[in-house]
């Protein structure tokens, strides 16, 4: 019963937070109206989502978000250094990254993470969803890079989504 009325609780929560941020103030009336709207939208659009997302460890997700934030700042400084000191030769690479994750949402988040973190951009996914093609800006040891991504991000995403 609850599952039918509330098919996507995390989506509803995210919508409510976006609504309150857009209003830029928190009053009782805004919270009530926002809750009604976000629940209605989550319920109405549930038919359009083909697979359900289970968040196994929500607190891990928050931890992951902050880890990502720190990494993005570090990535910015690294790329800035590369651009300014670009006299030495770059060694770009196109690497296939073997995916262990399954499911659309976890893979999308991993691909987004790869794009936002140091020197890598995810540029294509294979049709069977087993490989992600990554373009790296400056990499000497591609195996070490793959190991880094696996250890740092994919392992955590696997824990969060439990797949």
């Amino acid at each position: 019963m609850i599952k039918k009325l509330l098919p996507a609780p995390w989506l509803a929560l995210a919508l409510l937070i976006v609504w309150l941020l857009l209003q830029n103030s928190i009053t009782m009336g805004l919270v009530v109206l926002g809750s009604i709207l976000s629940l209605a939208i989550a319920w109405y659009t549930s038919r359009a989502r083909e697979e359900e997302v289970h968040l196994h460890k929500p607190f891990r997700a928050i931890q992951y978000f902050f880890l990502l934030l720190v990494d993005i700042v570090v990535a910015n400084f690294k790329i800035a250094g590369l651009i300014i000191g670009y006299k030495r030769r770059l060694s770009p690479a196109l690497v296939e990254f073997p995916l262990e994750l399954t499911g659309q949402v976890p893979i999308t988040i991993l691909a987004g993470t790869i794009s936002l973190t140091p020197g890598t951009i995810s540029s294509e996914i294979s049709r069977d969803r087993k490989y992600l093609l990554i373009h790296a800006l400056n990499v000497d040891d591609t195996d070490a890079m793959i190991h880094d991504i696996k250890h740092r991000y994919e392992r955590r995403l696997k824990e969060i989504f439990g797949c």
Binding site: V18, L21, L22, Q23, N24, S25, I72, V73, A75, N76, I79, A80, L82, I83, I84, Y86, R89, L90, S91, P92, A93, L94, V95, E96, A111, G112, I114, S115, L116, P118, G119, I121, S122, S123, E124, I125, S126, R127, D128, L133, H135, L137, T142
Partner: protein, 143 residues
């Protein structure tokens, strides 16, 4: 205009300069890096911190001048984090599809050079066999 305390002015200045310089470096990278795929790296990463710095400065300014915490600028950063990887992904996909030239130092470690996702598709296997000459085209040095 409201009078701001000294620490707020310092903080705002710091964030504005940080954001501005990163946006500048991102644009510089777009102009300086050697080929399309490497150029893609500069704007996707450095603009995130560039916009982030300006957003933080805006939050500090409006919070300090009105006394109420003003957070709706955070949405800009959120939407940017969502859209930057997607646009980069689409541009990279288009570049791979068109087989744009890359610098000669690029290590191509793909098991099927050429259009990536069609390699597994049996229908176009003959077509990808015709593309055997593609790596030679790709190794042309642009600089």
């Amino acid at each position: 205009m409201a009078e701001l305390p000294f620490w707020a002015e310092c903080l705002i200045t710091f964030f504005l300069i940080l954001g501005g310089s990163f946006a500048l470096i991102g644009s510089l990278g777009l102009a300086r890096l050697p080929d399309f795929m490497t150029r893609l790296h500069a704007p996707t990463k450095n603009t995130t911190l560039g916009v982030g710095g300006v957003v933080l400065a805006s939050i500090t300014y409006f919070s300090a001048s009105s006394g109420v915490l003003s957070m709706h600028e955070l949405l800009i950063a959120c939407f940017l984090f969502l859209t930057a990887p997607i646009s980069a992904h689409l541009l990279a996909k288009a570049a791979l599809h068109l087989e744009l030239r890359t610098v000669s130092a690029t290590q191509d470690l793909r098991s099927h050079p050429g259009p990536f996702s069609s390699a597994e598709n049996p229908d176009v296997s003959t077509e990808s066999a015709d593309n055997e000459s593609a790596p030679e085209v790709k190794s042309n040095n642009q600089s």
